[in-house]
Subunit: 218 residues, 2 copies
């Protein structure tokens, strides 16, 4: 029995997408991180980090969205799973890459487009983050110029983990026409029926005070 904790408008949508691709039944607890749901004593017993998503599989908890998806790929197999040791290494590598190279600058870019209240958005900060993203986006563009998907010729957990994180690109209206292979790949991933939960994501977060801005994003 699988239980997924986390509202669709959170990193939990990454795992919802994976579970729907795998057609695995699951119970959903849409714990809301914006209103204290992840800091209750009850929730902290499930994930002491106070974060969603968490997946509970037969009473045992696993956290970190991309690690959950790699676990689900291994457990349920099929074409989404890495086929061998090398593909497993590549899927893990690209999942870390998405977090270390893309996630934070993309999130801060998105904050300055739609997650911060309008008066708190800073176009210069947005442009700084877009400039930061050019190198990783060029890396992915060159990779996808050689193959249709991240691991080769089929959609796998590696595509899902990167594309789910990059759903902020269309949500924030960020133009990626300079990276045509990546753009076509991202659209094809995000249009998969199982992915649809990212589309209605709408919420705002407060901009941290200037003196805590760095501390909030490192």
């Amino acid at each position: 029995m699988l239980t997924l904790y986390g509202a669709p408008a959170s990193r939990a949508h990454r795992v919802m997408w994976m579970l729907k691709e795998l057609e695995v039944p699951f119970r959903h607890e849409p714990t809301d991180f914006l209103h204290g749901g992840t800091r209750s004593a009850e929730f902290l017993r499930i994930n002491p980090n106070g974060r969603v998503p968490v997946l509970v599989d037969d009473g045992r908890a696993i956290f970190e969205s991309l690690a959950i998806n790699l676990y689900l790929a291994r457990k349920f197999g099929g074409t989404l799973a890495p086929a061998d040791l090398w593909e497993e290494g590549q899927a893990t590598q690209w999942s870390f890459w998405a977090v270390t190279e893309v996630e934070k600058p993309l999130l801060l870019a998105a904050c300055n487009r739609f997650l911060f209240a309008e008066a708190d958005r800073d176009p210069a900060e947005f442009q700084q983050m877009i400039a930061r993203l050019d190198r990783p986006f060029r890396v992915l563009e060159a990779h996808l110029a050689q193959r249709s998907h991240v691991l080769g010729d089929r959609f796998t957990v590696a595509d899902l983990n990167i594309a789910a994180l990059m759903s902020l690109v269309p949500l924030a209206g960020i133009g990626i026409g300079d990276y045509p292979h990546m753009e076509a790949w991202l659209e094809s991933c995000l249009e998969r029926p199982a992915a649809a939960d990212w589309k209605p994501i709408r919420f705002t977060v407060p901009r941290p005070p200037a003196e805590r801005m760095l501390a909030s994003f490192v």
Copy 2:
């Protein structure tokens, strides 16, 4: 044949530690990221991200230090490797956790203790980062209060991946006496003979100009 690119005073030390634990022979190219070695055309053909470490295994490259170590654990097995699907998921989860919860605030704390030139260090920024680290450190402390190692009762790639990243704690002279189980565990990991390459790490990086500080650390 394995070739590891990256100077010991870089994230490559994480992979050197793993290779030495596994007693796997490897060729070492100590590509220096501080003096342009990772931005040469030759190096960018190996890793277009322009980062160390990269491991080349029989002509195929894998990057992202913690992903490389998980790959090596799977490939060479033994007691360092996850024993089953659940342990594999937990090792991956904790490796992501180290990157998402610990790495950036710890790095910026370390910058303000020894990586920035003395005149560029900011004690208030150091304290902000130490405050940021309290939650993940409490999570790891509670986890290690229940078991001697991250996956249970033996040293594995999960311990290595977290501890290698946390070698910045002793390097920066950060006191972790408030987390006694974590402190004892970290010392036992970092004192393993295969880990010794972290000890002589000494270099400085320039503090980015104030207006680029956030962009440099997200």
